[in-house]
Assembly symmetry: C2
């Protein structure tokens, strides 16, 4: 068996949008042939399950142009280049919910769509939340929704929450909380 | 409260790659202002948890250029335009693992990264598998890995499987199997 590893020969920007940056990577395949791959280069992101003392979780409702619908998601945001995910998690949580986390625990990480994007989302459980100033971006229209954790989990399992990072983070948080 | 709904005013192709198609959508925000959103339009995809009678699951190892690493994932593939996800699931499972599913059960669906892509992955549990011809694409280098379901699930929870669709599908399948 020839193996499955590919070797990156070059990585060329082919379109630079304001948010989405498209590259064409040329790779050497395991059989020695070459192939081109179009990929979106993404700086990475953070997403947090904010858990209040009584067991409620804070989610955000937001219109998503790409999906053509409103989605219910955990708070999330994009990393600044080189930024520590913990710093980003603290900032984005406050921006979207008005709460600062006293404690951030790593739940895992997720490649969202590794067939064509480099995006890796770092997932956290945020606890010991402290009400702070709501510091929203001007052009973000977000509604904070407070739900019992078990109800949010039920919605994931029933297929009522289709956002990938929210599904994974709530399922991993449920496993963590169950194990105490 | 002004609401959070946005209205799509126009959707313009700005770059057409072989695989990735980039659009600029102009939306009217809830406050009446306009904004542009760059989005990747994607035909959607399917991904399957193939469960063998003895309780083993079939995964695939594949080099992912975008992630710059080999990832262990459930079998998956892109929908043809307008294709029934069930038909695509059957085809892609055979292409990647050499098995035909006798039964496909819907586990849910997942927007992979709704901030910038329209991609929705339909997730299935594939059972009553029947060995068929391995019908791989010429330029795909894929290694099939057979693991006990519980070991695959353990790897998801331990953070050893970072692919988003694989995390969600295995966690949802575990919940389904537990409930009998």
């Amino acid at each position: 068996m020839a193996g499955i590893e590919e070797k990156i020969l070059s990585s060329e920007p082919i379109y630079e949008g304001k948010l989405v940056k498209l590259y064409r990577d040329t790779v050497e395949l395991p059989d020695g042939k070459q192939a081109d791959r179009e990929i979106v280069k993404h700086p990475g992101a953070v997403a947090m399950v904010p858990l209040l003392p009584g067991g409620d979780v804070l989610l955000v409702r937001q219109y998503r142009t790409a999906a053509r619908r409103i989605l219910l998601e955990i708070p999330a945001g994009t990393l600044e280049p080189g930024e520590d995910p913990l710093i980003a998690a603290e900032r984005e949580l406050q921006e979207e919910t008005g709460y600062k986390p006293g404690k951030l625990m790593r739940l895992g990480a997720q490649y969202t769509a590794p067939g064509y994007t480099s995006e890796l989302i770092h997932l956290f459980l945020a606890t010991e939340l402290e009400a702070a100033r709501l510091d929203a971006d001007d052009d973000e229209f977000i509604e904070v929704v407070r739900l019992p954790f078990d109800e949010a989990l039920r919605q994931v399992i029933a297929g009522e929450i289709p956002d990938g990072k929210t599904q994974v983070a709530l399922l991993l948080a449920a496993d963590y909380l169950k194990r105490g």
